[in-house]
């Protein structure tokens, strides 16, 4: 049998289902129910990787999310998953895993030479060196970067997908150990909606790893019954393989569920799902995480957590070694000794080394009875074997616990089970602002005051006996349900659980050896980042006295395991180095989400690819698409940019479209413009306040252009508003601002002027808008409608209801191009019909669909602005020469700001036109303008600028280029030259007025 460490029987694995996998190319087998870690251990693999900084050989330490060392690269290509904790990956057939951070492999790693220089590379050494010569840092950095990092990113896009589920419940229970099961069962029994989430494939928590009994039978039988009871209640959701990763404000908890049958491949389902849970009450039954004892060379492969070894023996049927020593400061680790002793002949317990004198609890007595040697009042002072434990050196511990006494004794062993006590997993409690209180006796942090509707139960609350966990869990579940409004709870009987008497632990934070810490072997606190007790002591010595400084200086707790095993010992080492009385006063670093790393793609969910953001489509969208337009993104809308005919480039297409509008007729889909229906007796007064010009006297059926300012006096939006009746207007806004303008209007109405009787309703999408534009527009429209269209009957800036192509329509005679123009609005569902009718009827007039680019050229030729292009949040109406639209007679939003000093400056930038010397030069939009001819300066020196180009095009109508610009004192400069330093040299341009075509406005009537 190749699984040399597999016990002959026992465990929760399925020995009938053998699974093949590879590790660093080696073919191995394990069983269904194994994790990669248990399978590797079963196969006798000891070295699973190399350490981050010193490239020391490392083995498996834990059996869960606390694992610092066994971070593997899973699979390859697009399915690669770096840095996976072997202890959390369920084995599957065909799995392929590799070690990270070593080359060519963990057994022989070329970088291990680095370890020789370890004395030169204490915490933070890089801050002190690599500075000379200054210019060399980039080479040093290159080397540092290559050396750092762990696994490798996938090399192809993710073939899997992810999704999310919003969920609500009365009681969310996190953790499905005895406490969580009891809590969930109690809450569910009361009728509350319960969600129970546990990160393991099976519920039971620690019970999966222990030989505990409840009601006289295996505790897992009790767990199975509890699970069935919960799952059996209406509305309960039980989520396995689901980790609560973050606890956020107002009882919002993020869970991540693994859904694919195997970790790296979701199959047809989403690989992982984020549950966004809003709970009325939360019970945190997340258990506790064992912490190691910090002794010299405690990172050698074979040094493991005692509780983890119990998991391997009891849950996975694996004995990680043949001769196991236990090193403990508490009674719980004796369970490991007992379980190993009971595991059969394959494994022997070398000894229990206990830092306490005369340990005395029930478990100790049992161990003695089993004939296990107990070396009390002793310390492990050294580990033999650099590539794997071969034995330990043990010496007596002095009274104070800070020195060793007596003679050294060697004990042969290949595994060391280390236990320094258990830390309640208060991570989630702390995420959302919960306090932690220090229990100095036990050296642990307990959940304190919380800002959330939450309680902790079981080991997470510092209750370590099983009976207490079950009882406390049930109480917490019942209380949570009651808080959520489910007061009635059925009577339950407490299960019978025998409790062993356990003696207190003895806190020894760093286990002394024969030399000061750091001089003989390394005492690792954070194996993932290679942080030692000496590093933390150095930090303290150098003045990084705050735990937060020490963390950042040494990188303690900053690796993917986030210091689940090392943080608390690290804090204590710092406390001792600083000489504080109560190490708890040093405090913890801040617990932050996620509890364990969360896939970025899962957090993105389905908001990627085609669903990344909605594509907003007008009713005519698909016509444009068939016509082969190119699109411009405007907010979420797609708008036709231009319509290239076969072989046309943008320039040719746009020129053709521009000519068509000025010479014949063009048609534009303007459906995206914002439209707001404004009704009520105070509607005109309201417009007076939000626009710069006056609205009271506007006649019914008449249209007026308006500028909207922010209260800071800067232009915010513009558009045409039409009076439909005395108390009824319809406002148009720019496409991009449609939603924000409506919200702005509502804000003023609701918060500032509730006395105004006005209602606003968005009708943007109620109407499709086809705008026909050009000298033949009237002829075209006449074919489709019966109303009189001559300039007198239907004058510029007016509106009429009519039927166009059989469709009821609102026609607005307004123009953004200076040409005769009709904006025909029809019910959106008729938009496409209208459009095709106009296209067909317009054929004989040479109708040409045009896009936003042509629209921009044509409006610029007329000097019409685009908000966001000619304006940038610092532009006033006066800057644009639009004083004419600013009423002096009334107050309006923004008016007071004009009077401020800066708006009175005489060198403000003003809107002007520019004509380059060379008519073929189209200036880049955004080009900067200088007063005199200046080249671009060399880096480090500057050239004064007087403005910039806002819009710039080639105009087929002018037969040349032209531009609009904002230029200091621009209007005074008309007729003068300015300069534009560009990539290819300096261009010269003459300043002109901003209107290039038809300044008299004679074309407006066709």
């Amino acid at each position: 049998m190749s699984q040399v460490n597999r016990l002959p029987d026992g465990g929760r694995i399925d020995r009938d289902q053998s699974l093949a996998f590879t590790f660093n190319g080696r073919r191995l087998t394990g069983y269904a129910g194994d994790t990669v870690a248990s399978a590797l251990l079963a196969n006798g693999v000891r070295i699973v990787g190399r350490s981050f900084k010193y490239h020391r050989p490392r083995g498996i330490v834990g059996a869960g999310p606390e694992e610092p060392n066994a971070l593997l690269q899973l699979e390859t290509g697009g399915r690669a998953l770096p840095n996976q904790q072997a202890t959390r990956v369920e084995l599957y057939d065909g799995l392929s895993a590799d070690s990270v951070n070593c080359w060519p492999g963990p057994d022989f790693d070329l970088m291990s030479g680095i370890g020789l220089f370890h004395r030169l590379t204490p915490a933070g050494f890089y801050y002190k060196t690599f500075m000379w010569p200054a210019s060399f840092w980039k080479y040093y950095e290159h080397v540092i970067r290559r050396a750092a990092g762990l696994g490798r990113a996938p090399t192809a896009p993710d073939p899997d997908h992810y999704d999310k589920m919003n969920a609500h419940c009365d009681v969310l229970v996190v953790g499905g150990g005895p406490a969580g099961l009891a809590a969930a069962a109690a809450a569910a029994a009361s009728g509350a909606r319960v969600i129970l989430a546990d990160d393991q494939p099976e519920l039971g928590g620690r019970l999966l790893s222990e030989r505990a009994e409840i009601d006289g039978g295996p505790a897992m039988d009790w767990a199975a019954a509890a699970e069935a009871a919960i799952a059996g209640t209406e509305d309960a959701i039980v989520l396995k393989r689901t980790t609560a990763f973050g606890y956020y404000d107002h009882n919002f908890v993020g869970l991540i569920e693994q859904r694919g049958a195997i970790l790296p491949d979701g199959g047809d389902r989403s690989r992982q799902r984020i549950w966004r849970v809003r709970a009325k009450q939360v019970v945190l039954a997340t258990g506790a995480i064992e912490r190691p004892l910090i002794f010299a060379d405690n990172d050698r492969p074979g040094v493991m957590l005692a509780g983890a070894v119990r998991s391997y023996v009891n849950r996975y049927g694996v004995a990680p070694g043949k001769r196991v020593a236990v090193f403990t400061n508490n009674d719980d680790a004796y369970r490991t000794a007992l379980d190993l002793a009971d595991a059969g002949v394959a494994v022997a317990v070398a000894a229990v080394v206990d830092v306490r004198h005369d340990p005395s609890g029930d478990l100790v007595t049992q161990a003695m009875a089993r004939g296990i040697e107990i070396v009390d009042g002793a310390a492990v002072t050294g580990v033999q074997g650099s590539r794997g434990v071969r034995g330990i050196e043990v010496m007596g511990l002095n009274e104070a616990g800070d020195g060793v006494t007596g003679a050294a004794r060697d004990i042969e062993c290949d595994v060391i089970c280390s236990s320094g006590g258990w830390n309640p997993a208060i991570h989630l409690h702390s995420h959302a602002g919960g306090k932690a209180t220090f229990d100095a006796e036990r050296g642990i942090f307990l959940p304190g005051e919380t800002l959330q509707a939450a309680t902790s139960a079981g080991a997470a609350a510092g209750t370590f006996d099983l009976a207490g966990c079950v009882d406390g869990g049930a109480e917490a579940g019942k209380a949570a349900a009651a808080q959520a409004g489910y007061k009635k709870s059925p009577r339950r009987k407490n299960p019978k659980i025998a409790t062993e008497d356990e003696a207190p632990l003895r806190l020894i934070w760093t286990v002394p050896t024969t030399a000061p810490t750091g001089r003989r072997g390394k005492h690792f606190l954070d194996q993932a980042h290679d942080v030692t007790a000496a590093d933390v002591q150095l930090a303290a010595r150098e003045g990084y006295r705050s735990i937060e400084h020490a963390k950042r200086y040494t990188t303690l707790g900053m690796a993917p395991d986030q210091g689940k095993t090392g943080n608390i010992p690290g804090m204590a080492v710092l406390g001792q180095a600083l000489g504080v009385d109560n190490v708890g006063d040093v405090g913890t670093t801040t617990f932050r989400p996620p509890f364990t790393p969360v896939t970025l793609g899962a957090l993105a969910g389905r908001d990627v690819g085609p669903l990344m953001d909605p594509v907003r489509m007008t009713p005519i969208h698909h016509w444009h698409e068939l016509a082969g337009c190119t699109w411009e993104d405007v907010g979420q809308w797609k708008r036709p940019w231009y319509y290239p005919k076969d072989g046309e480039d943008m320039h040719t297409a746009v020129s053709r479209e521009c000519k068509a509008v000025r010479d014949a007729v063009g048609i534009l889909d303007a459906s995206t413009l914002g439209k707001i229906d404004i009704q009520g007796p105070d509607a005109a007064e309201f417009l007076n306040r939000v626009y710069t010009n006056a609205w009271t006297k506007l006649g019914n059926g008449r249209c007026r252009y308006g500028l909207m300012l922010g209260e800071d006096g800067m232009i915010m939006d513009d558009g045409v508003t039409t009076r439909l009746a005395d108390d009824h207007f319809v406002m148009t806004t720019t496409t991009g601002n449609a939603a924000s303008v409506l919200e702005w209007l509502e804000e003023w109405l609701q918060t500032e002027w509730p006395e105004l009787k006005v209602f606003c309703t968005s009708v943007t999408e109620q109407w499709a808008n086809a705008t026909i534009c050009g000298p033949r527009a009237r002829d075209l429209l006449a074919e489709c409608t019966d109303i009189a269209l001559d300039a007198e009957s239907f004058p510029f800036m007016s509106m009429q209801d009519a039927t166009v192509a059989g469709i009821p329509a609102r026609i607005f005679r307004i123009s953004f191009t200076g040409e005769l123009s009709y904006e025909i609005n029809v019910p959106a569902s008729c938009g496409l019909s209208l459009w095709t009718a106009l296209i067909n009827a317009g054929d004989k007039y040479g109708i040409t669909p045009y896009g936003t680019e042509t629209m921009h050229v044509l409006r610029a030729e007329k000097g019409y602005i685009i908000v966001g292009q000619e304006t940038d949040g610092t532009t006033t109406p006066q800057d644009l020469g639009m004083d004419w639209i600013v009423s002096a007679k009334k107050d309006f939003i923004g008016r007071r700001s004009f009077a401020r000093e800066d708006n009175q400056r005489d060198d403000r930038k003003q809107l002007v036109g520019l004509l380059t010397d060379d008519p073929s030069t189209v200036l880049p939009e955004g080009a900067q303008i200088t007063e005199t001819r200046l080249e671009r300066p060399p880096p480090g020196s500057t050239v004064p600028m007087i403005g910039h180009v806002t819009s710039s095009y080639h105009s087929p109508n002018l037969g040349r280029s032209f531009a609009l610009a904002l230029v200091k004192r621009g209007r005074e400069r008309i007729g003068e030259n300015v300069y534009l330093p560009l990539d290819g040299g300096v261009a010269r341009a003459e300043v002109t007025g901003p209107v290039f075509v038809d300044p008299e406005g004679s074309r407006i009537d066709g």
Binding site: R119, Y126, Y127, W137, I144, L600, A604, M612, D633, T942
Partner: protein, 422 residues
């Protein structure tokens, strides 16, 4: 006054020497003095800006009877939680001036401080996803170049060459149309900035007093006389307040209000991986930015949270949104995992520019409003603020950034350049 306590220099030689002595000979990077009853200048806030101010006060102006008062641990505010992006490609002349000064100081800072701040000038690329973005970039690049700041436009193809793993597909929801690149931009090790300035200031005699919160600002006849702290009253006739997210709180103590609003700004890091991204990439339109640290994590951020707050944590939906954008831009990041997320408290100004200068109270100066983007300004801001404190008048570099500009209307609107945080 307090002479330099220790002057040992960091170098490869000192490293070797100390290694032989088991690193027991290293001196404290800074002392932990008890506050004196009075100082010439008090700086409230031991973030990068406050410490830089103290350093330049001592170094450039010879004013060393200075206390920096920090309520927590130095560098623990936004300085300790930012995404470390450094660049100077701002639009307006005023901003270009101070940010470029800052970048220049950064370029010599490791040597000046004798502390490796790991300035990594790997380039900062701003992406454009629509025509409006493109125009804005073009405008800024042109302005930068006339302001002597290196800046260039990259086409989509050039971007693909530059960053092979980026998704430039024209089929993506918001295709990349181009970008602007400042090659001198990059990142630096944020903690090192705080520690290096602290060490430099301390060596020159500045008292850095941590775990000491300012609880009141004493005034007499319109002039500041000192600050009340959790360690008692400390007097000074010149007080500079540099407390970022807490600026309004301090202004409240002094009896006036500011134009800043404090918001959570979040960031997160992925687990560490081998180098895949050698540039800082930012996108306003899809709202995300990312770089890879020397240690291997992807450092990822986006815009501020939606509502005011002093909680130093934010809302998950903001993170969810930014990661959608990230996975669109970098499809190979989808399977990587978030290792840690956190928040800072940023003090945003209506025009996305800072306030550095006088206040209604004589002798009391504020330096705040850096919002989402003041890390890059740390040395420049400290340099200019030190000048202001030393002379009682602003330096021309910070003269435009007055509180008064909100009265006159002379705002310096950097929303375009300030981007999604940075």
């Amino acid at each position: 006054m307090a002479s330099a306590p220790r002057m040992s220099k960091y170098s490869i030689f000192s490293l070797v020497r100390n290694a032989l002595a088991y690193h027991e000979g290293w001196e404290q990077v800074w002392r932990s003095p008890e506050p004196k009853p009075e100082y010439d200048v008090i700086i409230v806030g031991g973030g990068g800006h406050g410490l830089a101010t103290a350093f330049y006060l001592a170094k450039e102006h010879g004013i060393t009877n200075v206390a920096v008062i920090e309520k927590g641990w130095l560098g623990g505010g936004n300085t300790g939680r930012n995404t470390t992006i450094i660049r100077s490609n701002y639009l307006w002349d005023e901003s270009a001036g101070i940010y470029e000064k800052s970048l220049q100081l950064y370029e010599g800072l490791s040597q000046e401080l004798n502390f490796n701040i790991m300035l990594s000038q790997r380039g900062v690329l701003n992406l454009a996803h629509n025509l409006h973005d493109m125009r804005e970039l073009e405008r800024r690049v042109n302005a930068n170049r006339l302001n002597g700041i290196d800046s260039e436009i990259l086409s989509t193809a050039e971007i693909q060459d530059f960053i092979p793993i980026i998704n430039t597909s024209p089929k993506s929801r918001y295709p990349i149309l181009g970008g602007s690149l400042q090659r001198r931009g990059g990142t630096a090790r944020h903690d090192a900035i705080a520690w290096g300035f602290a060490r430099g200031a301390d060596q020159r005699g500045v008292d850095i007093i941590q775990q000491c919160e300012v609880t009141g600002i004493r005034q007499s006849r319109g002039k500041v006389t000192g600050v009340e702290t959790t360690k008692g009253l400390i007097k000074a006739k010149t007080v500079g307040v540099v407390v970022a997210g807490h600026s309004s709180v301090l202004a409240g103590m002094a009896g006036f209000r500011l134009t800043v609003n404090s918001y959570p700004l979040q960031a997160l890091v992925s687990e560490p991986i081998k180098p895949v991204l050698d540039t800082v990439v930012m996108s306003n339109a899809v709202h995300v930015y990312v770089s890879q640290s020397d240690k291997g994590e992807l450092v990822i951020g986006a815009g501020i949270d939606g509502c005011h707050g002093y909680t130093q944590r934010g809302s998950l939906h903001v993170i969810e949104g930014q990661l959608g954008a990230l996975c669109e831009l970098f499809p190979i990041f989808s399977r990587l995992r978030m290792m840690r997320q956190w928040g800072g408290i940023v003090d945003t100004c209506p025009d996305a520019s800072p306030i550095i200068g006088k206040t209604p109270v004589g002798g009391l100066y504020f330096n705040c409003g850096w919002g989402t983007g003041g890390f890059k300004a740390t040395p420049g801001s400290g340099w200019a603020f030190a000048h202001t404190l030393a002379n009682g008048e602003p330096h021309p570099l910070n003269a435009p950034f007055t509180l008064d500009r909100f009265t006159t209307g002379k705002l310096i609107d950097e929303h375009g350049a300030a981007a999604v945080a940075h």
